[in-house]
Structures are given as structure tokens and as C-alpha cells.
């Protein structure tokens, strides 16, 4: 087959407008496929990650938006005394928008001595010593920094909160690249005097062997009678519940990805059928020269797969570049889903494109291989 590669490439180039349009269509389809795949993977990371299943989030009962959950900070000490609890981290959360948004900014205020212990953050620029010494210091996730063009040394205000940027970090958990971390006390005070001693949620880390559901039930039972009742869930369940509306939309987006594959299949199949119909006589000549029907079939398949994969390279490349450099994320109620590129995403896109190209070439390939030589030559 490699000996016939020039013929395949030149045949595609012969109708370059048609080929380029098909490749463009394939690129658009794979771009959307990649984008949707990235969102789906982002949601799966949030809800199915093992660490998220072994960490509990304590929220005020029947509250969903961070702005409405107000837990006494001293709950942390009480929760810390329950069996199975290893560490409790009180967190104040402030977001500029509780509704679903692509431009959500989420501040997390944590005790500075706990931040580095419970979050896997690596500073790309700036220093932790500045964060420790300045009360209004903030370290900004690389996705937010990219999106909002924030640099170390900048000072910016969102809502009531004005911070000085002392570091840009990347996190092992892609969703955290969309967060801004500050001192807990600073964020409490920034929200007004009423907020001092009040936090939005507690992250509860468990000992090995502790059963998350039992500890969650014990926490809720401890505070059932006040002063503020709690709802405790594993972090994964908390994030899934918080993003339930978005998750439904993302579920629908799955069908959009399927539609893209269908579109790709139809587009490449149409082009390949047209190419075969244009070249009935040519395929007859090739057979007369001695090419086996199976080889003709494979040549047509190669053209079909190449068009599909050519578009895939462009579409996946553009999609991954946007995901890598766009710092895109969608968030709701203080929880964000990060859109991240991955090799896995690129490979699945390429495999889908190759499969669509293969399927699209089957019927035209079979038609070309079954060409009646004498009949086709007479038609010329």
C-alpha cells in the first residue's frame, strides 16, 4: 500500500476544494467533539476522583450558594473531635456569581498554615513567604490568571474583595486552577464584620479506614439541633449536587458530540461517494492493469480515512490549543469545572475520526471494488 501513497494523496489533491471543505468540516466536528469531551472529563474528574470521595464537605443545611451558607468557625474544633476525622479545614468562599457562568471567579479563604498542607499547589511565579506575611495576599490559579491576564504584583477588586497577587499557581486538580486563595481571616473581614468567625464550609479529611458516610452522619447529627444545622457529603457528591443543573446540560452536550460524529460520517461518506463516482473509469483501468478489487477497496478507504484524520489533526489541535491556553472553566455556586486538554482526549478524538473515516469509506470502497471493468471502460 505505501507504494500507492502518491496516488492517494494526488487523488485527494485533484479536487482540492472538495477535499479542503471536507477536511474543514471534519476539523469543526472534531473541535466540538474535543471541547465537549473536555467538559465531560472535567465533570467526571470532580465527581469520581478518589480523593474527592474520601474528603467530606460540611455545608449549612438547605443552602447551595456559598453566599448563603454560614457556619460558625468553631464547628471546626468540634468536628475535629469526632471519631475518624483527621483534619478539618474551615473555608470561606466568595464568588462573583452563584449562577452558571463561564466568567466565574471564586475566592477560597483558608488558614495560611493549612493551605499548603491540604492543597497540592505549585507556584509558577511569586513566593509563599509573601503570601504568609501579607494579609491581603492572594495566590491565583493559572486558569484565572490566563483568562484575566493577572500577574504577580497586580492588585484587583472583585465585589467587596481587593487582593494583592503574590503568586500564580498550578494545581494537581485542574478545577482548582480556577480558584483564588486568600487568608481565611482576610476574606471574612472583607465580607463585613458580621462575617468574622463565620465560614462557608468545612473540608473534613478522614483517617484511613474511616467510613465517609458514617462520619458525615455523625457530623450532621452533632449539629442537628443548632445553632446551625449542617449537610455533610463527600466532596464528590457535594460537587455533583452543586453542579446538578450543569451536569444535565453536559449530559445533553454528549448528544452534541454524537451529532458531530454523525455529521463527520455523513460528510466524509458523501465526499468519498462523489470521488468514487467521478472515477469509475479510473478504477476500471487500475483493475485492468492488475490491481485486485481488495486493493482498490483499501485505496478508497485510505482516502476516506485521510480526509477524516486530516480534519481531526486540525480540529483536535485547535481544540487542545484553546483548552490549553484559554484557561476556560464553567462554574456554578462556587464550584468550577475546568476544561483541560489531555492526550487521552486527543487519542479518543483521533480514534473517532479514524473510525468515522473507515465507516464512511466502506460503501464507496465496496462500489469501487465491484466496478465491472468492461462496462466502466465503455462509459468513458
Amino acid at each position: 500500500m505505501p507504494k500507492f501513497a502518491p496516488y492517494v494523496f494526488k487523488s485527494l489533491w485533484r479536487h482540492r476544494s472538495r477535499t479542503l471543505l471536507t477536511v474543514s468540516g471534519s476539523a469543526v466536528a472534531l473541535f466540538v467533539f474535543c471541547f465537549v469531551g473536555s467538559v465531560q472529563r472535567g465533570l467526571a474528574r470532580l465527581t469520581k476522583d478518589q480523593a474527592a470521595l474520601r474528603t467530606l464537605v460540611v455545608f449549612q443545611e438547605n443552602r447551595f450558594c456559598p453566599a448563603t451558607s454560614r457556619l460558625p468557625e468553631d464547628y471546626a474544633q468540634m468536628i475535629g473531635q469526632l471519631p475518624g476525622v483527621k483534619q478539618v479545614v474551615p473555608i470561606a468562599v466568595f464568588t462573583n456569581n452563584c449562577r452558571a457562568s463561564l466568567e466565574v471567579v471564586v475566592f477560597h479563604g483558608l488558614p495560611p498554615d493549612q493551605l499548603r498542607a491540604v492543597r497540592q499547589l505549585t507556584l509558577r511565579s511569586g513566593s509563599w513567604s509573601d503570601f504568609d506575611t501579607r494579609t491581603d495576599a492572594a495566590v491565583v490559579g493559572q486558569a484565572v490568571a490566563q483568562r484575566r491576564r493577572i500577574q504577580v504584583g497586580d492588585r484587583f477588586t472583585i465585589g467587596d474583595v481587593t487582593v494583592s497577587v503574590v503568586g500564580i499557581f498550578r494545581s494537581a486538580a485542574p478545577a482548582e486552577d480556577s480558584y483564588i486563595y486568600t487568608h481565611l481571616e482576610f476574606l471574612q473581614r472583607a465580607r463585613g464584620k458580621n462575617s468574622v468567625g463565620v465560614v462557608t464550609q468545612m473540608d473534613v479529611h478522614l483517617h484511613e479506614g474511616a467510613h465517609p458516610d458514617q462520619v458525615a452522619a455523625a457530623i450532621d447529627a452533632r449539629f442537628r439541633h443548632g445553632p446551625v444545622a449542617t449537610t455533610t457529603r463527600s466532596k464528590g457528591v457535594f460537587q455533583r449536587d452543586t453542579l446538578a443543573d450543569l451536569a444535565e446540560l453536559i449530559g445533553l452536550a454528549h448528544w452534541l458530540a454524537c451529532a458531530c460524529v454523525g455529521f463527520l460520517l455523513a460528510l466524509v461518506a458523501t465526499t468519498t461517494v462523489m470521488a468514487v463516482q467521478d472515477r469509475i473509469q479510473e478504477h476500471a483501468v487500475l483493475q485492468a492493469i492488475g490491481l485486485r478489487p481488495g486493493r482498490i477497496f483499501r485505496l478508497v478507504l485510505a482516502e476516506s480515512i485521510l480526509q477524516s484524520l486530516g480534519g481531526a489533526v486540525i480540529g483536535i489541535g485547535a481544540g487542545l490549543a484553546l483548552l490549553a491556553w484559554g484557561g476556560l472553566a464553567v462554574g456554578a455556586e462556587g464550584v468550577t469545572i475546568a476544561f483541560r486538554p489531555s492526550l487521552d482526549l486527543a487519542l479518543s478524538g483521533a480514534m473517532v475520526a479514524a473510525a468515522a473515516g473507515f465507516l464512511a469509506g466502506l460503501v464507496p470502497g465496496w462500489q469501487a471494488a465491484r466496478t465491472e471493468i468492461v462496462l466502466a471502460l465503455r462509459q468513458g
Partner: protein, 240 residues
Amino acid sequence: MALVEIRKLTRQFRKGGEVITPLQEVSLAIERGEFVSLMGASGSGKSTLLNAVAGIDRPTSGEIVIEGVDITRLSRGALADWRAAHIGYIFQLHNLIPVLTAYENVELPLLLLPLSAAERHKRVEIALEAVHLRDRAHHYPRQLSGGQEQRVGIARAIVAHPTIIVADEPTGDLDADTAEQILGLVQRLNAELGMTLLLVTHDPRVAALAPRQLRLERGRLIEAGGGESRAGGDRHPRSV
């Protein structure tokens, strides 16, 4: 034993409700190195016979034995392999692949044979030299005249050193001067290179170039002139 032995070859087509029989129990033997022309009116079955010998059409009954192989018994794939190794086909409309250069068109049949790139290159150069087109090797068919295209078609037909070359009205689409050049070339293939040739034409002047001339009339083969009669069937046309 003759190089080509055709025994009681019959080809029937069904057209609507009617059965057409362009070839009726035709028998023919062609010796190695022979140049045979096959004449006949339109629809007489001459192209059908040529296509059967070339292995691109299957007879309804009868045998075609070439170098001891009955090609009517070969599977579709095996027949394709056999064509690659044994047949050089010169088409009336040259039928070059438009996206390939003259060189690449001539090289096509060699890609099917177990040859090194160097050997392929050597053979293509020789074939193009034989048709005086080495200087046009990297031209595309659209950049060649009709006569040059047909010469590339001839180079493609001879490049794999086939057992037999079949030519279907090779000058049918050319002006008189160009046709004469092409026919000269075809004659040289036989006279100088000793290639076995079966040429189909409806033009008696073209047919006369061959030492052995056959005529197909109403499905029957008649020895029309030239060498000894080895055509089977009656010497005179008979209605089918």
C-alpha cells in the same frame, strides 16, 4: 502448445428480454511472438474477444489457456494478479491516470510486482525511451498531446514485460499522422522486441499491418489473411 489457446469460447449478454451472443464457440491459437489483428464491424464481438483474452471479461463458456493457465477458472483476485503479470493493455482512449505524471503512470503496473525501486526506475526509463518520451517523463497527461498520451499508454503496457499485449483500437482516437506513428511503434514492439500482440481494429489498413489477420463476423472467427489458418469455426460467416 500455442501461447494462447482459446477453445469453444462463447459469450452471451442479456439485454432486456433478448440474449445477445457476440461470440459463439470461437476457437483460436496464437503463437508466442505473433502479431495478430482482429477485424470486424461494430458489435461483431472483437472487443469482447480481446477483453476475454485480457482477463477483464468472463466468457459464458469455453476455455482461454494462456501459458498453460486456464484463466476462465481463476478467481477475481487471482485473475487480477494474473493480469498484472501477463497482460499489457493498450486502450483506445489511453486511459492514463490524470493525477499521475507520465513516469508514474508507466510505473503503476510495476508497483504490483516484486521489484526494487531501482529496478522499477530502470524499467520505466527504458519503456519511456522506447516510446521516445523520456523528456516528458514528469509531465501530466493534460500537458501531453493525444499521440504522446497514447505513447505513454503503450509504455505502460510494455513496462512489465507482459506475456501478451492487447490493443483495442489504439489509433481510433488519433489523427492520421499520429495514428501512423503509433502503429509504427506497435509494429516495432513485435518486430524488434518480439512481443506477442493481439490488436483489434475496424480499419482494414491497420489490420493489414499484422502478419496474421482475423475477422469476426456474427460471433464467428474467420482467418482473413496473413499466416496459416488456425482459427476455429467456419471459414465463412454464419448467422448466430
